[in-house]
Amino acid sequence: MNAPLKEREQALMGIGESRLRKEDARFIQGKGNYVDDVKMPGMLHMDIVRSPLAHARIKRINKEAALAMPGVHAVLTADDLKPLKLHWMPTLAGDVQAVLADEKVVFQMQEVAIVIADDRYIAADAVEAVEVEYEELPVVINPFDALKPDAPVIREDLAGKTEGAHGARTHHNHIFTWEAGDKSSADAAFANAPVTVKQDMFYPRVHPCPLETCGCVASFDPVRGELTTYITSQAPHVVRTVVSMLSGIPESKVRIISPDIGGGFGNKVGVYPGYVCAIVASIVLGRPVKWVEDRIENLSSTAFARDYHMSGELAATPDGKITGLRVEVVADHGAFDACADPTKFPAGMFHIVSGSYDIPAAHCSVKGVYTNKAPGGVAYRCSFRVTEAVYLIERMVDVLAQKLGIDKAEIRARNFIRKDQFPYTSAFGFEYDSGDYHTALQKVLDAVDYKALRAEQAAKRADPNSPTLMGIGLVTFTEVVGAGPSKMCDILGVGMFDSCEIRVHPTGSAIARMGTITQGQGHQTTYAQIIATELGIPSEVIQVEEGDTSTAPYGLGTYGSRSTPVAGAAIALAARKIHAKARKIAAHLLEVAEGDLEWEVDRFKVRGDDSRFKTMKDISWAAYNQPPEGLEPGLEAVHYYDPPNFTYPFGIYLCVVDIDKATGETKIRRFYALDDCGTRINPMIIDGQIHGGLTEGFAVAMGQLLSFDEQGNIQGNSLMDYFVPTAVETPKWETDYTVTPSPHHPLGAKGVAESPHVGSIPTFTSAIVDALSHLGVTHVDMPHTAYRTWKELKRLGVAQ
């Protein structure tokens, strides 16, 4: 029992250990349980009739031919949902969205009717047999055109509504104008500034494209009046609340289960019409109904990300000290405002746009606009528009550096919030918890030998025969994650806390149930490690369960890097409640005062006496058969954690590219990513998350784009066209870290999985622009495909 301390610690596999994943055994043997694997007796299949047009009035829908097909059980349209008041649904952003198109369609691939059939083949045949007659209406796909006085009216249902969920509406296609910071002080900074720069940039519409598409299996039991739904959701508890509100079924009779999720990346936060339709169909037919979208439906209709037209300005002194920031954004939200943001923040956390820099005066304004495109606006592997914000500020700092002829590393160091300034309140009101940017930057510059890289670049530029242009990208970003303090952040009125329930069993093993849901992050592995360290129970005997609203405590789910910052804290604090009770039991068993005990890895021992101790295993048993008088039996705790603040992870990323002068092809020679996520719980999983986030960032920067023609036809909505990199294109990543714990988080952890996506995207653009900067280029919009880069080279006279 008295094994050396180190051995006992290692036996726990707690915080800091690269513990192999507990999830893997089922996934590597084909025993995962994803939504499409769910099969129920009597289950029917749903498919969706979608609009081929982006804007049209529905003249007539003829279901007859479809209904006549053997194996077809129902064809439902908006008119069928009307009596149930389910033809429209509220969105997370305070707007409403048509569940099935009500009198007109407003984007291509919009849901028009549903077909329920015996199997997916018959359902697909029946979709073809539903006849819909349309009258075409003028289409507007550009948000600037949408704001013209004579622009087509996209949302007739909002006629005369001059007040939206986020203030006044000034035009029939205007959703909101949201501002942060102080305009007058920002304007004053610009009025007196010796140096100013301005840059327009477009962050194109992209899609998270997880490998598993969205879907659900809805099963309404008409006898019990209970609804069970398996669903691809990153926030099952919120879905339960929404479903109860929409259907009128008491929340206690709604059970939402997020089983294994095949990647989310923001795509699976929203509530989509397909889910609602499957649930309605199950209620109407009294049988389980499965709906799983295909890839084209996924890319076309269930959410999108970004689509921000941004304009940034910096004011500065001649030596590069930034004195003011102004940002204006026109945000294309598509035909319904279904952005997934905390309710009070229609542009999410975009006001983190002052970045890692000490900027005394700043203002931003975001104008949301309707167009004839799919709704969505999800946080694609980021915390609510942080990606857009980081992109803008990092590009602007580069632009300023270029104008002043100051090196881009040097200008950053001059403007960083210094270590001694934390906690630091930004001009936008965020209170940054901790950071040490200078140390991290220097570590990266040393690791890559930045000076040598610049010398090599100068030599290449001087050599007219060099076949390539060399570019060095540098980004020094700060994220705001872990939403969030419920006084600021809520979803549909529910505060964004998160929760954990831990039960320690008599024989010393434990189960933890959480309000979050893993989609590949490895919660079952890492959450157990936190409990192992807190309670001295080996992580191997700690089960972690999430995703079933009937067993797990209410939580807001997993997105915005909130699992570790919020749920991770809930785990630690639930464990500490158990720890406190265990101490009482140990004192009772050892017949000493609580104050005479000290905690050591997995046991309480009498201070100064190694021979008198009770292990957590001993205490667990005692909790169920001989608790001290006055103490209730059992050993469990629940904790709902409402964070006092966000967390602010940061990183320093450097990328070296070589662009072929003749073809525009870009080779990522090197990518060095240093992340600081505070306390590191499982380094192996952190590295894996960073590799994945960097690869998604690479995809966005170098190729992803959902584009539309003038008629609103979506282009590139299959994997034939939409860029998902293979192992061949994907660069090799070098990772590094520093550790600056969060002072307000019980474990000091900050969250990590989104940083690499947020931080890498502007790094690639920074590198591409850097390669062209000696030719006077200050910015190039994404995606940096070979064709687009070649066009730029041709414009510059570099390529033929």
Binding site: D24, Q29, G30, R295, G692
Partner: protein
């Protein structure tokens, strides 16, 4: 729709079923035989989540009809482990953290299984090219490459230690 009788060997078991001629192999495996390891990610042969091994070749089962597999010898992820022991590629993905959400994993494993028979000692570049028919959104492939290298080493120099299934 009239059905056609097909027979094939799947993971060593003889299977005989009546299927509609239009039934895709992936639906036959997943819905008829409850072999849900192989997944559907795109239905256009791009993502490789549905990859299975048919007569010694990696095949994307979303673009292959069940009736085309008459008489075929098929292996799916469910048949990889044997005798209660994980196959080296499974062990490699586990040990090298070659998976996250797990959705692409069965396809990746089946491709790696075949790749290492086509080329038992591939270079990193050969692994990247050899696995390029399979998409992963989570890992960035770096640890998948390591996992295949691990399996390659293990298959060439079988160690005594194994990981139980």
């Amino acid at each position: 729709m009239s059905k056609k009788l097909v027979s094939m060997t799947i993971n060593g078991n003889k299977v005989e079923e009546a299927v509609e001629p239009r039934t895709l192999l992936i639906h036959f495996l997943r819905e008829k035989l409850n072999l849900t390891g192989a997944h559907i990610g795109c239905e256009t042969s791009h993502c490789g989540a549905c990859t299975v091994d048919i007569d010694g070749e990696s095949v994307k089962s979303c673009t292959c009809l069940a009736v085309q597999c008459e008489g075929a010898d098929i292996k799916t992820v469910e048949g990889l482990a044997s005798g209660g022991v994980l196959h080296a590629v499974q062990e490699g993905f586990y040990k090298e953290h070659g998976l996250q959400c797990g959705f692409c994993t069965p396809g990746m494993l089946m491709r790696a299984y075949r790749l290492l028979q086509e080329n038992p000692d591939p270079t990193e570049e050969e692994i990247r090219v050899g696995m390029s028919g399979n998409l992963c959104r989570c890992t960035g492939y770096q640890n998948i490459v390591k996992a295949v290298q691990y399996a390659s080493r293990k298959l060439r120099e079988p160690a005594t230690d194994t990981v139980a299934a």
